[in-house]
Symmetry: C2
Subunit: 496 residues, 2 copies
C-alpha cells in the first residue's frame, strides 16, 4: 500500500482495520475469542432477564479458578493485606491486629516490607525485588534437589508467565525467516505472539494416542524440513504439563529433548506453569532445569540455553488477577541478559502485588509455623478436589458417544477428541465455522458452558476437539457433567 | 544474514546480541539506563561499606515518589487491603475491624468486591472491570464539565499508561514507513516503542524559550516534510503536562492542535498522566478530551481520533508499583476497538490491584464522608510540598552559573539547560559519552544524585540538559540542592 493510499481524506478514519498493523490483525486468541465474547453477552442478557435454557454461564474456557469460587490461600492474602496497609504493622495497633492475624503472617509482612523498601507503591528494580528473586532461587534449588545454586541475576519477575513468554519470543525472532517450534495442539499465546512479531511457527505434533506424548524423532524431522525450507529455526517451546493437553513428560523424555536442543542448536523455552497440577503418581513433574543440571552429557549441561517460566495463576494458588510470575535463564549470553533487563526497564517493573505473591508461593508456611495447619489443609483440599474433578470429567467424556479423552495427568484442562456427524460438519462449513467451533457454540447456547474449540489450539487436520477446564465447583460438578452429556446426545441426534 | 550464518555450531550460543531481534537491540531507555544501573551498583557498594563522598543514593532519575518516602493516601490503602483480605469484611470480625477501618472504607470495599466478583484473584474482563470503567467515565465527565457522557466500551484499563501507549503505537504502525510525531525532548517510552516496532519517529521541537511551548506552524512544516520524504505519518503524540519539560498547554493551543490533526489526518495520542501535577494558576490543566468535545468546529469534534492516557503512578497518588492506568478512545473505528480488545485478551487482563486504585483515584472520598478530612489533608500536603519543591529547585537551577531553567508549570520534573565548558565537552567525547551524560555521571559519583542526561530525551543539537525530579523529601531538600550546586561549581572550576 502506498503512502497516498494510507493518507485518508479529512473526515475519514485514519486508523481502520485496513490501515492498522497487519501483524496485530493476524493475531488469533481463541481462549477469549468469539465464543467467550458471546458468553459475556449471554451473561449480560441473563442479567437483563432474557430467557435461556440455563441460569448461569459457566466459564470453562480459561483456567481462572477464583472466578469459579476457589478460595484464595488464607496466609497469602493475610500477608499481602498487611503489606498493603502498613498502618496494621504499627506498634500502636498491635493488640487489635493480633486478633486478626497470626504471628507468622505479621512477621512475614514485616520482613517483606523491609525487603521491598519504603512502600509497595514504588517502582521496584526492573527485574524484580532482589530478595524475592532470592526466594525464587531457593525454591527452585529445593524443588530440583540439586546442589547447583540458582543465580538471582538470571531470574526475572514478570506480570504473569505470558508477559515473559512474549519478551523472550520477541527477543528470539525478527521477521518471517525466524522460526520457533511449537507443539500442536498449543496454548495460543505462542502462535499469537509469533503473529505479532511476524515470525514463523514451526509446528510439531503431539501424539494423541500416546497420551499426547512427544516423539524426539519427529522433532528432528520437523526442524530439518523447516530449515531446508529456509526457516531459521531458533527455539523449541515445550509446555509441560501440557496445555491444552494435560500430559506430563518423563525424565527420559526431558533428557532426550535437551540433547536434541544441543544437537540442533535450539534455545529451549519451557512453559512449566502447571508444575503443581499433577494428578497421577506415575508421572511426577520434573523441571527442565533439573533435567538440564542432571544431564549425563557435560556439553549439554554447559551449553543448552534454557528459559523456564512459572506463574502464580495456576497450581492451587490460582491468583490470576494479580499478574505475577517469573522466568529463569540458564546458559544465556550475558549480552542477552542485559537486553532482557533493558526491555523490563521500559515497562519499569512488574507489579509489586504479583511479586509479593511469587514470594509467598515460593516460600509458604513450614510445618512448625502457626499458619501451617490451615495452609496445608487448604492446599490439600484444593488439590484433591481438582484431582477428583479431573478424573470425573475424564470419565464423563469417555462415556459419551464418539468422544475419547486421554488420561488427566496434569494442568487444568481436558482436550477430548470428538467424532462429529457429517451433517454437523457440513452445516458448520456452510456457516463458515470450524466444525468444533460450531459444536462449542451450540454447547454454550444450550448449556451455558463455555469451552474453547480445538481449532483454537491447532489439531491434526480432520480431527475435532475442545478444551474444557474442570474448575466448576465440586457440588455443581455432577450437574455440569450431565448438562454436557445431554447436550452432546442431543447434538448427535440432531445431526445423525 | 543467511540462514546458515544464523545456525551456530554445537557449543556456541544460539541467542547472542548478533542473532537477536535487531529492533530490541536498537531500543534506548535512558531513564533506567547506564547511569541508573551505576546508581544501583553504588547503592550495593555503599551497603558493603565502600566509601563515597555521600551516604545515600538519591534517585531523581524517575518519578517514583513513594521510593523517596512519599506516604500513600490512607483511604486508598485501607480499601485495597480490605479487598485483599475479604475475611476482614465478614460479619464476625466487624467489631474488631471497625476499630481499624472507617465506615466509608469498609463500605467502598464491600461495593468493590460486589463489582469485581468472587475474588480479586480472578482474571477480570480483558478491558477492565466494567464498574471501574464506569467510575472512570464519571470522573472524566466531571473533570471536563461536559454533558457528553463517556462510553465505558471505549475505555481500557491498563497496567500503567506505558502499556497503553505501547499497545496504541504498535497498532498504529507496522514498519519503517509508518511515522509518529513525537516531541523533542520526549519521554523515551515513545522512541523506545517506535524502535521496537521498527517505525519512524517524526520529531517536532518544543520551544524552550517559550516555556517549552508548542508551535502549530512548526508541526505543519514537520508533517509535510516527513510526508514528502515518504514517511506515512499517522499520529501526533502530545505529552501534557510535559515530560521531561513540565509545560502545561493552554486551551487555545489544544484547540489549534486538534484542528491541525483534522487537517493533516492524524490520530492524536494525549499523554496526560501529570494532569494533577500543576503548579501555577495561570496554566490549569485542560484535557484534550474537553478541548475536543468543546471544539468550535463540528467536523473536528466528530472526526478527530483521540486516545488519551492516564495513570495512578503520578499526581499526588504516586502508586507506581501497582502498575495501573487507563486510556479512553474517542472517534475510533469500531473495528479498531475490537482489535484493542483482542490484544488486551492475549495478556488476559490488567492486574486487579491496579484497577482498584484507578477506581479509588477517580472516586476519592467526598466532603461528607468520614475519611474526607484525612484524605483532603494528605492530598493538600503532598501537593503543596511538591509545588514548593518544584519552585525551590527551579530557583536553585537558575542561580547556578550557566544553567537556565524554565518555570515549573507541571509534572514531576525540571529540565534545565546547561552550558558546559568546552574542555568538559571534549573530555566527554574522548570517552565516547554525550557531554550531558558525562556531566550526569560525574554528578552521581560526587553527590549520589542520579539524574537523566538530556541526550536520553532528545534536544536541539549542541544544547545540553538533564532531567531531575523534585521528589527528595522536603526536610532533605536544602541539602539536596546544595549538593548539586557544589558539584556544579566544582565541575565548572575543573573544566574551565
Amino acid at each position: 500500500m502506498t503512502v497516498t493510499e494510507h493518507q485518508a481524506q479529512p473526515g475519514q478514519k485514519v486508523l481502520t482495520p485496513d490501515t492498522m498493523n497487519n501483524y496485530i490483525k493476524n493475531v488469533e486468541y481463541a481462549v477469549r475469542g468469539r465464543i467467550a465474547i458471546r458468553a459475556e453477552e449471554i451473561r449480560d442478557e441473563l442479567a437483563a432477564n432474557k430467557k435461556f435454557p440455563f441460569k448461569t454461564v459457566v466459564n470453562c474456557n480459561i483456567g481462572n479458578p477464583q472466578q469459579l469460587n476457589q478460595k484464595p490461600i488464607t496466609f497469602f492474602r493475610q500477608v499481602a493485606s498487611l503489606c498493603e496497609n502498613p498502618d496494621l504493622l504499627s506498634d500502636d495497633k498491635a493488640s487489635i491486629v493480633s486478633q486478626l492475624y497470626p504471628a507468622d503472617a505479621l512477621a512475614r509482612a514485616k520482613q517483606l516490607m523491609k525487603d521491598i523498601g519504603p512502600s509497595i507503591g514504588a517502582y521496584s528494580h526492573s527485574q524484580g525485588i532482589p530478595a524475592i528473586r532470592r526466594t525464587v532461587a531457593h525454591f527452585m534449588e529445593q524443588r530440583d534437589e540439586t546442589s547447583q545454586p540458582a543465580n538471582i541475576n538470571h531470574i526475572y519477575l514478570t506480570q504473569g508467565a505470558s508477559a515473559g513468554v512474549q519478551t523472550i519470543l520477541t527477543l528470539l525472532t525478527q521477521d518471517s525467516h525466524s522460526g520457533i517450534m511449537i507443539p500442536i495442539p498449543q496454548y495460543p499465546l505462542y502462535s499469537a505472539t509469533l503473529s505479532l512479531v511476524g515470525a514463523t511457527p514451526v509446528p510439531y505434533y503431539l501424539e494423541e494416542q500416546q497420551q499426547w506424548g512427544l516423539d524426539v524423532e519427529q522433532l528432528t524431522t520437523t526442524v530439518k524440513e523447516a530449515r531446508q525450507n529456509g526457516t531459521d529455526v531458533r527455539a523449541l517451546v515445550i509446555i509441560n504439563p501440557g496445555n491444552p493437553t494435560g500430559q506430563c513428560l518423563t525424565k527420559e523424555n526431558l533428557t532426550e529433548i535437551l540433547t536434541f536442543c544441543y544437537d540442533q542448536q535450539l534455545v529451549l523455552l519451557a512453559d512449566e506453569v502447571y508444575q503443581t497440577n499433577i494428578y497421577t503418581q506415575e508421572r511426577p513433574f520434573i523441571s527442565f532445569r533439573k533435567a538440564l543440571l542432571d544431564h549425563p552429557l557435560a556439553h549439554v549441561r554447559d551449553h543448552v540455553e534454557l528459559v523456564s517460566f512459572h506463574s502464580i495463576s495456576k497450581g492451587v494458588v490460582g491468583e490470576c488477577g494479580r499478574r505475577g510470575g517469573y522466568f529463569e535463564c540458564i546458559n544465556l549470553d550475558q549480552g542477552i541478559l542485559d537486553q532482557i533487563y533493558k526491555m523490563a526497564s521500559v515497562s519499569l517493573c512488574p507489579n509489586i502485588h504479583g511479586q509479593i505473591l511469587v514470594d509467598l508461593m515460593c516460600r509458604p508456611p513450614q510445618p512448625n509455623d502457626p499458619s501451617y495447619p490451615t495452609y496445608r489443609a487448604e492446599v490439600d483440599a484444593i488439590f484433591l478436589s481438582l484431582q477428583r474433578r479431573a478424573q470425573r470429567l475424564e470419565a464423563a467424556f469417555n462415556a459419551m458417544e464418539g468422544v475419547s479423552c486421554q488420561p488427566a495427568q496434569g494442568s487444568m484442562y481436558l482436550f477430548p477428541t470428538i467424532t462429529l456427524p457429517k451433517k454437523a460438519i457440513d452445516h458448520a462449513q456452510q456457516l463458515g465455522l470450524a466444525p468444533d467451533a460450531y459444536y462449542s457454540e451450540q454447547m454454550l447456547e444450550a448449556t451455558g458452558v463455555c469451552v474453547v474449540p480445538g481449532s483454537g489450539f491447532g489439531q491434526v487436520a480432520g480431527s475435532y476437539h475442545f478444551r474444557s477446564t474442570f474448575l466448576p465447583e465440586e457440588h455443581l460438578f455432577d450437574a455440569f457433567c450431565s448438562n454436557i452429556e445431554a447436550f452432546h446426545a442431543n447434538f448427535l441426534k440432531k445431526y445423525q
